[in-house]
Symmetry: C2
Subunit: 370 residues, 2 copies
């Protein structure tokens, strides 16, 4: 088992990464303050891992909320269900929430924990690759609004993150590949050596080789932990983690949450960011080709939803959180491993990009992973 | 004009208390970061003060949300309306929200600011006495759930508080007296000298004497600012500010939000806490009589809702945030000006108290202030 620390002063916490650690009492119990524990999971994860998680909590007053599965349920209304359950069971300020599931479960549960009685503890047990390398680390919690993704939320750090790679055995290929998109992101924004490692080893990840998965998750979390420790609330370099997200969120909002997986939208968005960088002469065409190639090897989309026009895309991006004072901002690339945030780009290059990126039928996303 | 500071490191902020300062650009504008400002107010306050507030914001992109008036609208659903308005107008992370109104407007607006895009700035312009001496200071924000008051919320400090006592001219007597209840609270929990001042001057407050109001608001805010600076997130002494609140929240929840004003419920709750203290021999009967007397002079209720049985009261209190690990906790009095938090009380004394406190018909609350 590997253990990393997210260094945030009195809010520091460990990330444990290993095999068969989901029900490890020694990892879990030191982080539970009171006697009341609520496990939040979803209808896909519950039959697989709920009993195991509960078995580690024998002596606590344990309740469970099982949410429907999918990004479209990451709403204020669903969060309200969690509040209602907590209140019906008289859960108090010493309660601990456990998020057992993917990014949606983690984001909602973290947000519920941030707001319940103005803040209670929570623990992340991510069961998808995407959640393990991204959303479970760093304290960003929240829900979507019909007008924009993650628009309602809070910074609320977990007490610990327990990443059991065995949970990836039950993940379908499409979800696994969506997680690989976020792993590639770390290589692109700040870790060229890791990108090279991925070029050499991506098939091992796709084949779920345990050692390769542990290495890639650990290195991804190290990158994320460093960024978060330096800039918890995204006033500076943390914004680099949003590579591909301005495009990606537009895709997710424009196609309806859940049609494209988050990682798929981010893959497409990262390639668009790379392409926009290349159109400005900031990134070489060779590097752009390497990025496209690795995404294709992971069966990730390299086009945009056919149903979204360039104008719709622009409109959707204009409500993104990263739009400051009415100006679009992008994370772009100077090289693989070197990213920067800018508002200074040519509108004509952006429009050409949106017009020239090939369209993908959203229904094909599922097929390509079969 | 008096200016106090709530000392919270890089989250410190000023409280300005004075006459004709509502539209003072020099107080307001330094605290607005970007160009987008949303004023949140309600249908009672808007016709009185909205135009004045807008006049101070001539050069900003200013939007307004006007909420229905009343505690029963302090909900997640109403907060969602604010998010929708912000998103429709493409408000970004540099936006500033201004709460123009009483405690309900302040609590909702602060919570919306805490959650919108994971946190934007907000400014409090409290227009009721209760909000001026209590809820606008200290960063507690939130909304009610049908199962409990303030159960969903966040700690989110404002950028500044602008308290214009001229807004009290339009406040009805009942609202004014409800605010006086919270002023009396500071005397009871930690400021005996202030309690004595109130015994000498309460009629001046009721008659809205400007100097008396400024003195009482300033002294109340000084007390609150000291407590909040020492214990922002209520891990210790901040709990003393909850004198009367365990009883009071039960009254508010049990009678339906808004039937009793918050200050009325707190007045009743403070007297119950004092009575419970006296039943344990911790407070003298003479001091109990002084407390009852000053509440009566401010036309505040000294009984409980006739419709709530002792058992209903106990059930309602058991969901209060201040119930730790299933145990009821009360703020009680050792003397006027000396309070403490305890779980160690005699259940028989509590039950006697609940059975023996006289019942009040909620409909009479309005009449007594006419």
């Amino acid at each position: 088992m590997n253990t990393l620390t997210v260094a945030l002063g009195d809010r520091s916490y460990p990330i444990h990464i290993g095999s068969r650690i989901l029900a490890d009492q020694q990892l879990l119990i030191p982080h539970i303050k009171g006697n009341q524990v609520l496990i939040v999971t979803n209808e896909t994860v519950a039959p697989l891992y709920l009993e195991k998680a509960q078995s580690a909590l024998g002596n606590f007053e344990t309740e469970t909320v099982i949410l429907p599965d999918g990004e479209k349920y990451k709403t204020l209304e669903i969060t309200r269900r969690i509040f209602t359950h907590l209140l019906e069971k008289h859960f108090n300020r010493t309660a601990t929430l456990i998020a057992l599931g993917g990014g949606v479960v983690g984001d909602i549960t973290g947000f519920a924990a941030a707001c319940y009685q103005r803040g209670v503890n929570f623990i992340q047990i991510p069961t998808t690759l995407l959640a393990q390398v991204d959303s479970s680390v760093g304290g960003k919690t929240g829900v979507n609004h019909p007008l924009g993704k993650n628009m309602i939320g809070a910074f609320h750090q977990p007490q610990c993150v327990i990443t059991d790679i065995d949970t990836l055995n039950t993940l379908d290929n499409r979800q696994l590949n969506a997680g690989i998109a976020e792993i590639i992101k770390y290589g692109l924004i700040r870790d060229y050596e890791f990108f090279e490692w991925l070029e050499d080893n991506i098939e091992k990840l796709i084949q779920r080789d345990k050692d390769a998965l542990i290495y890639a998750i650990n290195r991804s979390c190290m990158n994320k932990a460093e960024v978060v420790a330096a800039d918890e609330k995204e006033s500076g370099q943390r914004a680099l983690l949003n590579l591909g997200h301005t495009f990606g969120h537009a895709i997710e909002t424009g196609t309806g949450y859940g049609t494209w997986l988050h990682g798929e939208a981010i893959a497409s968005g990262m390639l668009m960011a790379a392409d926009l960088s290349a159109r400005h002469g900031w990134l070489s065409s060779h590097e752009l080709a390497r990025i496209k190639s690795i995404l294709l090897r992971a069966s990730l989309p390299t086009g945009t939803p056919a149903e979204l026009s360039a104008q719709q895309f622009l409109d959707l991006m204009s409500v993104d959180k990263k739009v400051l004072a009415g100006k679009l901002r992008f994370v772009l690339l100077k090289a693989i491993g070197k990213s920067f945030v800018t508002e200074e780009f040519e509108q004509s290059h952006l429009e050409e990009l949106l017009n020239e990126t090939p369209g993908i039928n959203s229904a094909d996303l599922k097929i390509r992973n079969d």
